[in-house]
């Protein structure tokens, strides 16, 4: 177990290092370009040269990378040119906002999708299964911008039940979370439901379920004790991967509802060529992706005890 953990942590660090090198090379390899982005297009060559000297951009590339890495590691991401403030001052609150949106989404999405998936997979081919599958396909194939417009038209413009934007200007307001959460739940529930269903169908056809039924165990016991635990291994991994999707995939939803989250920040940073903010957002997104992947592996290990002895994860091979 410890060996496995160690291996995962090393892999995580190597991935982060590789990504950081890539980010550095893409965004900082040309010092002149960095100076122009920071000082603006109207800066004079003299101003840019002075800035480069003051900020150590005349040093060799490798040394600059090590220094840059050290700053990033200490959480010193530089100053945002768009927001005129240190990057961390805008990054962490935005990340927290997206975490809040993610939490509210997952609170509804996970139980809903798992329940629907189990119900559909329990009796594959039944009327209920077909109904749930049809609903899942419909919601999954509707893009977020379309469902956002539909829900907004209905609940904001027609019925006037809900606020149309989610800027939380006067502090937290749960009403402002309703529409963005609804759009995200609609977009993702179908996918997780389908994955759960597929896993459930597979488990329901295994020998140990047949044995349990033939032994005369009550149906709820067969389902909850034997089927569900095994059927949830795949959905668990899928749900963990949805955290990454939420982090950067919510750009459309955050833009539409003017929600001040991480996705909207990434978009704004890109549009404004805010180089230090882009770097910080990219590294944070990668850290979250790698972190959730490690968590998924650990969860996998917990749900499949035999992996603990083999020290492998994910494959399920003997």
């Amino acid at each position: 177990m410890l060996r496995f953990l160690g291996k995962r942590l090393v892999a995580m660090l190597v991935t982060m290092l590789a990504v950081s090198a890539l980010v550095f090379l893409v965004l900082e390899v040309s010092p002149g370009s960095v100076a122009t982005k920071v000082l603006g297009p109207y800066s004079s060559p003299e101003q840019r040269q002075l800035w480069l000297q003051q900020h150590g951009y005349t040093a060799p590339l490798a040394l600059r990378y090590v220094r840059w890495l050290d700053r990033m590691w200490r959480g010193d991401f530089g100053e945002s040119t768009r927001f005129k403030t240190p990057v961390h001052a805008v990054l962490w609150p935005r990340l927290a906002n997206t975490a809040l949106l993610g939490l509210s989404t997952f609170t509804i999405l996970v139980p809903l999708a798992l329940t629907l998936g189990v119900l559909a997979g329990m009796r594959a081919g039944s009327g209920l299964d077909r109904l749930i599958s049809l609903g899942s396909i419909l919601t999954t194939s509707t893009p977020e911008f379309a469902s956002a417009v539909l829900l907004s038209t209905l609940f904001v413009f027609r019925l006037a039940w809900l606020p149309g934007t989610s800027s939380m200007t006067d502090g937290f307001a749960w009403q402002e979370l309703v529409l963005p959460t609804a759009v995200l739940v609609l977009a993702d529930t179908g996918y997780v439901t389908r994955m759960t269903r597929a896993s459930m169908v597979e488990v329901m056809h295994t020998a140990y379920i047949r044995t349990a039924v033939l032994k005369g165990l009550p149906w709820p016991v067969v389902l909850l004790k034997h089927a569900l635990r095994n059927a949830l291994i795949t959905p668990f991994t899928v749900v963990m991967l949805q955290i990454n999707w939420l982090l950067s995939g919510v750009i459309v939803v955050e833009f539409f509802f003017a929600y001040k989250g991480f996705g909207a920040l990434l978009l704004e940073a890109s549009l404004n060529q805010d180089i230090y903010l882009i770097e910080a957002c990219t590294l944070v997104a990668v850290a979250v992706a790698v972190g959730t992947q490690t968590l998924a592996d650990l969860g996998h290990l917990y749900l499949q005890p035999r992996l603990r002895t083999t020290g492998q994860s994910g494959s399920g091979a003997p």
């Binding site: 413009f157 006037a160 800027s167 200007t169 404004n272």
Partner: protein
């Protein structure tokens, strides 16, 4: 009661009044001209036989409700230095904290503001501004002439990079920097002429121009002309960090991209009538117009700074919302850099112009809301406009010009533009189709709004939005005079500059119109821009918002606004 020495009328005023009575001068031009010459607006209206109109500015005489928070949906942008403001939104955030020497109302009449009055010499070259007494900065200092001198000195310092350098061209001198352009031409620099701004006493400032200019008071309400404290640079030259102002409000919260909250200063601290609103909150809902509308529909905000023409049908269905339309000199121009190929050839530029059908573009891109333009950036709604013969689309002539310029098979041009304004994109798509019959293949380089503003004055062919200004000459001074910072087409024509000097210096309205005809004709002939139309603008408020009237420049001034 303080005694005021009656000021002598400018010698040109009686003549202008005679022209008005003889029907040679319309009332609008009369009012504008004599107020610029220092006659108070109320007196000017009386001389014209009119009652003062509502200006939408600081009309606190009406009885309104005290208190409340006005929430306005508008982008919240960084505002470090007012002298280099490049967006009206920035000035709106600052406008309730910082004030201007003059104020130009929505009726295009310029009134005293921090300057209590002004006088101008008969030759329009010496302007004397008397400052209002008892105006206190929010740090307790008294506003005085040093503040005004300091601001002029900053604006006209080329190191600051203020667009005011073009606006107050009559106060600057050109010098050789000693550096050379790539083509070997010397790089010139403009800066404040020594002695051009003079402190007479603690409350009086005199401007000495090197040529006559009538529009100085109007220029002083150009949005980067907000008066900052005389120690602005000492305090770090960052207004959002040290928001010292003379206005009725102070900055409480400022988060770029999120919100800007202003709270009222105690009435005893402010020199003017007490403002009604307790606070003003600007909420940033991003670039998506749908978000602004949704916020208004669900009453999360009381007003939207600007409503796009494409949103009008939706907003008309909201019973609690009022839309205000204003005819303006806001426009967009497809400008060609005359220093870059192929636009260094006049025939190519003229061919591009000949492809334009203004009326059709107005219908297609702006639902017909506005007026066709004439490729010279002076609007018929501006008092200095001179009518020119009508233009017409002529593809045959355009093809002929291209052939003469060495492009018998046509040519391909790349037009850069920002995507932030929906109508820009719609317009250039229609423009592209209009160019095709002349053999011009237009490739559209649509980029995010902020990315375009990085290169707006660098790309050879770009479509740029220009905001409203009360006078045609103001825009021409800013954007077309040789060597000024906002001259995005790099146009440099001494004949044009000279004609502009004459127009700006002429008091007689009929005479000035003749000079303006010359200015407009030169610019139109030189085909620096292809200009489709002047657009109406729209703002929207809930019915609760009282006392607000949309300014043609979308400037906010909420001292006289209250919530019903």
């Amino acid at each position: 009661m303080r005694w005021h020495r009656p000021r002598a009328l400018h010698p040109a005023v009686p003549a202008l009044q005679a022209q008005l009575h003889a029907g040679q001068l319309d009332r609008r031009a009369f009012l504008r001209t004599i107020t610029l010459l220092g006659v108070r607006a109320s007196v000017a209206y009386a001389m014209a036989g009119l009652l003062p109109t509502r200006t939408g500015m600081a009309q606190a005489q009406s009885k309104g409700n005290m208190g409340g928070n006005l929430r306005c949906s508008m982008r919240v942008k960084p505002m470090p230095d007012p002298a280099i403001f490049d967006w009206g939104e920035k000035s709106n955030q600052a406008r309730h904290i910082l004030e201007y020497l003059t104020i130009t109302g929505r009726d295009n009449i310029t009134r005293p503001y921090l300057a209590e009055s002004w006088e101008v010499s008969a030759d329009l070259k010496v302007w004397t501004f008397k400052l209002r007494q008892g105006v206190r900065w929010s740090n307790g200092d008294i506003l005085n002439a040093d503040d005004v001198v300091y601001n002029f000195t900053r604006w006209l310092d080329p190191r600051i990079g203020s667009s005011n350098l073009g606006l107050f061209d009559a106060m600057v001198s050109t010098s050789d920097t000693g550096r050379k352009e790539k083509d070997g031409q010397p790089i010139l620099s403009k800066s404040l002429t020594t002695g051009a701004v003079e402190k007479i006493d603690e409350a009086t400032v005199r401007l000495h121009l090197n040529r006559p200019v009538l529009a100085i008071p109007e220029n002083l309400y150009h949005y980067p002309c907000a008066i900052v404290h005389r120690r602005f640079d000492d305090m770090g030259a960052d207004f959002s960090k040290h928001p010292i102002g003379t206005g009725a409000y102070r900055l409480q919260t400022f988060v770029v991209g999120e919100k800007c909250v202003l709270t009222k200063r105690p009435a005893s601290e402010y020199w003017g009538p007490e403002a009604y609103l307790e606070s003003i909150t600007y909420v940033d809902h991003g670039d998506d117009p749908a978000a602004h509308l949704a916020a208004l529909a669900s009453r999360q905000v009381d007003m939207v700074h600007e409503v796009g023409v494409e949103s009008l049908p939706t907003i008309a269905r909201l019973p609690h919302v009022v839309v205000q339309e204003v005819i303006t000199s806001q426009t967009g121009v497809a400008r060609m850099q005359v220093t870059q190929k192929p636009f260094d050839d006049l025939r190519v530029r003229q061919a591009v112009q000949l492809c334009v059908d203004q009326r059709r573009l107005l219908d297609l891109a702006h639902r017909g809301k506005g007026e066709p333009a004439e490729h010279h950036h002076v609007a018929a709604s501006q008092p200095d406009y001179a009518p020119l013969p009508p233009l017409r689309q002529d593809h045959a002539r355009a093809r002929q010009l291209l052939a003469e310029a060495g492009y018998p098979n046509g040519l391909t041009l790349s037009l850069a533009l920002g995507a932030a304004d929906t109508w820009h994109v719609t317009l250039v798509q229609a423009f592209k189709e209009m160019c095709a019959p002349a053999g011009i293949t237009l490739q559209l380089n649509v980029m995010p709004g902020p990315s375009y503003w990085e290169v707006w004055d660098k790309v050879p062919f770009g479509f740029t939005g220009w905001t409203h200004r009360p006078l045609g000459v103001m825009t021409l001074e800013l954007g077309y005079r040789s060597g000024v910072p906002w001259n995005e087409s790099k146009y440099a024509n001494p004949a044009f500059d000279h004609a502009l000097d004459l127009a700006a210096a002429t008091l007689d309205v009929q005479e000035r119109r003749k000079h303006m005809a010359s200015v407009q004709r030169i610019l139109q002939h030189d085909a620096v821009i292809a200009q489709p139309f002047w657009r109406s603008i729209f703002s929207a408020t809930t019915r609760q918002v009282q006392g607000y009237a949309t300014h043609p420049s979308l400037y906010h001034h909420f001292n006289g606004v209250w919530l019903g």
